[in-house]
């Protein structure tokens, strides 16, 4: 392990591996999560969920459920249609497709809530759910995304007489010219399955009404969008909705669920009691959200030397029943299709398709793991075709460090990074030449030993102007965040954010950042662990998404802290008869620059600000509190001309190189990961220990996607992986000890030079493992294009190759 573990006693604190202050509390079970909250008279909700993938709801009779002892409220689609408006989409979309919190006219996926019950306990609520009689008229299920386009067995939404919710072509550079000049073209179809993070804490909501309106406690990670959705659905003023996020036990993009909130709000109003709903794991797997299954046809044009000239891509995203934020996967894929290569021409034709499956949505890396899978698989295929080593092909095509900042044909600006150095660091850490020798020996012994490499960019933050290019709507742009910094009268500081922490360690890193800005020890900084829309500063784009913390959120924190710092210095100057420019703050005291002794304690200034109101500088407002709403200065507006679809979609770019060393058991098809080497560069690391934890977690997510996890549906739209017996997460026994080395190329675009790291491991790992397994099976000449690589699938490929006489 490469992680720095020594902590000094003094600042600067940014860059030090401070242990997570959250851990003692969380590992002792002392965190307060949604399910830990109990209220007098609180009821428990259960949902009746659709057993059909696609069915018209003819009638529902809930009389028996309502009559069951202990049941306080039952709602069905009829009530919902009467009492609410459809839930607004996260990003307004071209066509209006009603999205209610319960199925109103028909059920569109297995697990869609059809009715909801509030009862004295969860078991009684589930008993009542069984008593609800629903007459369904089953309809043909739309399952395969290509079939959904070409020969739809039915329409998921009859309103649009098509299952294609979005279809567009984005073309950058001279694509046809690139292909006409090509010496080599590689082409193939690639696919990735549905998989999801399955946070330890499932999604939950508590709702309670009183004279001030509705209060919700929920593990929601996008509070701005959630409350907006509630105000439109429930038709109550936004100011009467208070959303509190207590501790969140993992988010990964999954925890945004206005439908649950509206159901709970309706039940609580009907029962006139607080109501709690918490998903069980089956509901979590069936119905929280899925990352899309995706299929992409790629053509890559190369010149005779292996320089990539252009890409033609045709991509289909299976959105399931998603009408909340479709096109998310499409957008985040095509805008990043260069990966880390100079590719001057790209044409991307994308389809977002509705099917009778759980709605797709955000999950760690959204679309980019598949982007990288496609490109890094294609690079391997191209190297074979050109007849050069794939490492050499990568080297010839990397965006050179000297070209930074580099503007991609799509308009993204890569801020910094030395992709060649990252790759070389990984190779050196792996002892690559040694590995090749080991492989040679293993192959001589008849073993299937593979070395797989993948390199990747990890884009950070998301300019929401991007949606203009997808939807044509112009009411959302840029990206920002809110932060509140308050120094109390004793010089200690509290901070709260518009972002909702869900396990990233914000309490620790925000304290490090603020401690440096205000010249105090991080122990004197307390960061609010949760979110409260009545207290925290927030925007509609607030929340945890798109790796935006280290650039966008840090900007808000630093600006708020600097406002306080300037005010402290003005007051100190006034108290001491100095000029503010002469003064600085360190070690919790005010100093004249270069002096040996402090001038006065910081607490003296702080106390003055709160109680000695008449001794403040003239016109200075009392108190030391700053609330800053930050707009990321890297975000921009689209050109809005029909031909110019360039935009700074994402704002900074971390990068990494992964090397997976695997062995395939030819009898069982099982893959053993012998070693896993990661070199990565997320700019300046705010806390190297937390960074390494992120790398481990994200890479494990990718190992799950590559080898184990599959939210698989059968041809009738039944989901087959409804429990952890069939939905297989990699456990500690299935994950190797990662060998991680960090490079630190500071970003010129962010306040601290820091960049995102939460998604990075998820992105190249699918490709690194697949490249490795294919390399292991090289003696058999197997080509792998479909994930996940289950033992059965690998065994099938081996049998096929042997039948074709390919075994050497």
């Amino acid at each position: 392990m490469s992680v720095k573990t020594t902590v000094s006693d003094t600042g600067p604190w940014v860059g030090q591996p401070l242990p997570r202050r959250e851990d003692a509390r969380l590992t002792a079970g002392a965190g307060t999560f949604t399910d830990d909250i109990r209220m007098p008279g609180m009821l428990h909700a259960a949902f009746l969920r659709s057993p059909h993938a696609h069915a018209r709801i003819v009638r529902i009779n809930a009389d028996k459920a309502r009559a069951l002892k202990g049941v306080h409220a039952v709602i069905t689609g009829e009530d919902v249609e009467r009492l609410t408006k459809p839930i607004s989409t996260i990003i307004p979309f071209k066509m209006f497709l009603p999205n209610y919190c319960l199925a109103v006219d028909k059920a569109r996926y297995v697990g869609e809530p059809v009715a909801a019950i509030a009862a004295v306990d969860r078991a009684t609520a589930e008993d009542a759910a069984e008593l609800i009689e629903v007459e369904y008229e089953p309809l043909p299920a739309v399952v395969d995304p290509w079939e959904a386009i070409e020969q739809p067995p039915s329409f998921v939404f009859d309103e649009i007489k098509s299952n294609v919710i979005w279809h567009d072509t984005f073309s950058y550079g001279e694509v046809d010219d690139a292909f006409s000049r090509a010496a080599h073209v590689v082409s193939d179809r690639f696919s990735v399955q549905r998989y999801i993070s399955t946070a330890l804490e499932t999604m939950g909501v508590i709702g309670k009404w009183d004279s001030s309106g509705l209060t919700l406690w929920s593990a929601d990670q996008r509070p701005g969008f959630a409350t907006h959705a509630l105000t439109t659905a429930l038709q109550i003023p936004h100011s009467q909705i208070r959303l509190v996020s207590p501790y969140i036990g993992g988010g990964f993009g999954n925890k945004r669920k206005a439908t649950y909130m509206v159901i709970v709000a309706l039940l609580a109003r009907e029962a006139d009691r607080p109501v709690k709903y918490l998903e069980d794991r089956q509901e979590n797997l069936l119905g929280l959200v899925h990352a899309s299954n995706q299929v992409m046809d790629l053509e890559m044009a190369l010149d005779a030397d292996g320089k990539i000239l252009g890409l033609k891509l045709r991509d289909v995203v299976d959105e399931g029943s998603n009408v909340i934020n479709p096109t998310l996967h499409s957008m985040l894929k095509f805008t990043n299709m260069l990966n880390n290569y100079t590719i001057p021409a790209v044409r991307f034709e994308g389809y977002a398709v509705l099917t009778n499956k759980c709605h797709s949505g955000a999950n760690r890396g959204i679309g980019k793991p598949f982007m990288c899978f496609v490109i890094e698989r294609a690079v391997e295929m191209a190297a074979k075709k050109v007849g050069i080593d794939s490492l050499e092909l990568r080297r010839r095509n990397f965006i050179p460090a000297s070209a930074m900042p580099y503007e991609s044909p799509m308009g993204n600006v890569y801020d910094s990074g030395d992709f060649l150095a990252t790759l070389d660091t990984a190779l050196k850490t792996a002892n690559y030449d040694d590995l090749l020798k080991q492989q040679e020996e293993a192959r001589r012994a008849g073993r299937y030993f593979g070395i797989g490499i993948a390199t990747a960019v990890e884009p950070n933050s998301l300019n929401l102007s991007a949606y203009t290019l997808m939807t044509g709507r112009t009411d959302t742009s840029g990206v920002g965040e809110g932060a509140l910094v308050r120094m109390e009268g004793d010089g200690s500081v509290r901070v709260s954010l518009g972002n909702t922490a869900s396990g990233q360690g914000y309490e620790t890193v925000v304290a490090q950042i603020v401690a440096d800005e205000l010249g105090i020890h991080p122990h004197r900084v307390t960061v609010a662990p949760g979110f409260d829309s009545a207290v925290n500063p927030w925007l509609h784009c607030s929340g945890s998404f798109a790796n935006k913390f280290s650039g966008t959120d840090v900007g808000a924190i630093i600006e708020a802290a600097r406002t306080i710092r300037a005010k402290i210095l003005r007051i100190a100057a006034h108290l001491t008869g100095r000029k503010a420019e002469e003064l600085t703050i360190r070690e919790a005291a005010i100093w004249v620059h270069g002096a040996n002794e402090p001038l006065l304690p910081l607490a003296k200034v702080a106390m003055t600000a709160y109680r000695d109101l008449l001794r403040l500088p003239e016109g200075e407002m009392p108190g030391l509190e700053a609330r800053h709403f930050y707009v990321d200065p890297q975000s921009n507006l689209p050109a809005m001309s029909k031909d110019d679809k360039r935009l700074r979609f994402q704002l900074t770019f971390s990068n990494s190189a992964h090397i997976a060393v695997t062995e395939v058991n030819p009898d069982t098809g099982a893959v053993k990961i012998h070693r896993y080497i990661i070199a990565h560069d997320c700019g300046r690391e705010i806390n190297p220990m937390l960074v390494e934890g992120m790398v481990h977690g994200a890479t494990t997510h990718g190992i799950g996607g590559a080898l184990y996890e599959d939210l698989i549906y059968d041809e009738n739209g039944q989901m087959l992986a409804g429990s952890f017996m069939d939905y297989l997460k990699p456990t500690a026994l299935d994950v190797p000890e990662f060998e991680v080395v960090a490079l630190e190329t500071p970003s010129p675009f962010t306040p601290l030079g820091a960049k995102g790291v939460g998604e990075g491991g998820s992105i190249p790992s699918l490709a690194a493992i697949t490249n490795s397994v294919e390399d292991a099976l090289k003696p058999l000449g197997v080509t792998l294009t479909e994930l996940p690589l289950t033992p059965n699938k690998i065994w099938d490929a081996i049998q096929k190759a042997r039948a074709e006489g390919k075994d050497t």
């Binding site: 078991a123 698989i712 289950t790």
Partner: protein, 294 residues
């Protein structure tokens, strides 16, 4: 994910349990470790009206050696078996097999009797019971009867136990001098139910395998099965690599294997061959790798 309503009653003696079973019949379920029953109840796949808790019955757990056999009380937990020197020494197959059962926390709670009566075709315990010629002692209102493992397992989660009977003990012959055991399993992850598992018990006449050959296979469609054609191939012969290969293929061909989410039938039969081969290899050469490889 909460169970349908049920009544709970704790039996304090075997007689008590039998009386309750006689009263409630098929509306009742015995609960021991609950590691399979409770999840099934939470999914509402099992809906007993009465749950009869046998955990407080004294004398139902424990391991004793008697007349060349090991007598294991049905309420004995997996982890007690794992920790027992008598089990490790007298029935090496159990020692090889037990670590494959789920995870430590589950083995601390789950019981040998529970697994046998649950009769999951992918579970390990029935496979071992078949290979070991285990005998089960059942007691009901009319008295005690003994049944051989092979007659006990009928189909998927179906056994020869009557609704008012309780499994008291499992009797397993102790290993003979000339006897060798092997076990192997393939699961997607360590601790998962087997896609295929195999147990082998071989007695030797010098260098040759005697007529006492037991090969049992799990991870099948209906129940754990003996692979009798494979056994017949080995009887009386020297265990060459080619013979083992042939026996493994025979076993894979003769048992009832099906397709599911994690394995097609063809793949499963191939896994069965691999696991039988590995179990036989372990039995023949006890110094070779023990247990399954991923």
């Amino acid at each position: 994910m909460k169970p349908a309503p049920f009544q709970y009653v704790a039996a304090l003696s075997v007689e008590d349990a039998i009386a309750l079973l006689s009263k409630y019949g098929s509306d009742a379920k015995l609960i021991a470790g609950g590691q399979s029953l409770v999840p099934m109840m939470n999914f509402r796949l099992a809906r007993p009206e009465w749950l009869i808790d046998i955990n407080r019955i004294s004398g139902l757990a424990g391991i004793a050696q008697k007349n060349g056999a090991l007598r294991i009380g049905s309420l004995t937990r997996y982890s007690e078996l794992e920790a027992s020197e008598a089990v490790q020494r007298s029935v090496p197959l159990l020692g090889l097999m037990l670590p494959h059962i789920a995870h430590k926390a589950i083995r601390n709670r789950g019981t040998i009797g529970g697994s046998i009566c649950h009769a999951d075709p992918a579970a390990e315990m029935p496979v071992a019971m078949l290979a070991l010629d285990a005998t089960f002692e059942l007691r009901g209102p009319t008295g005690t009867r003994r049944i051989a493992a092979d007659d006990f397992f009928i189909g998927q989660m179906t056994t020869g136990i009557e609704a008012e009977e309780i499994l008291i003990a499992i009797e397993i012959p102790e290993i003979k001098n000339s006897e060798k055991h092997g076990f192997s399993e393939f699961a997607r992850r360590r601790g998962d139910f087997a896609l295929a598992s195999a147990a082998a018990v071989l007695r030797f006449n010098g260098e040759r395998i005697s007529d006492h050959v037991r090969i049992a296979v799990g991870g099948l469609s209906e129940r754990a099965e003996r692979a009798r054609a494979a056994e017949a191939l080995l009887a009386g012969k020297a265990p060459t690599a080619a013979l083992i290969e042939e026996a493994a293929k025979a076993a894979a061909a003769e048992v009832k294997a099906g397709s599911d989410l994690h394995a097609t039938e063809a793949y499963r039969r191939s896994l069965i061959a691999t696991q039988v081969k590995q179990a036989l290899a372990v039995a023949v050469d006890h110094t070779s790798s023990t247990g399954a490889k991923k």
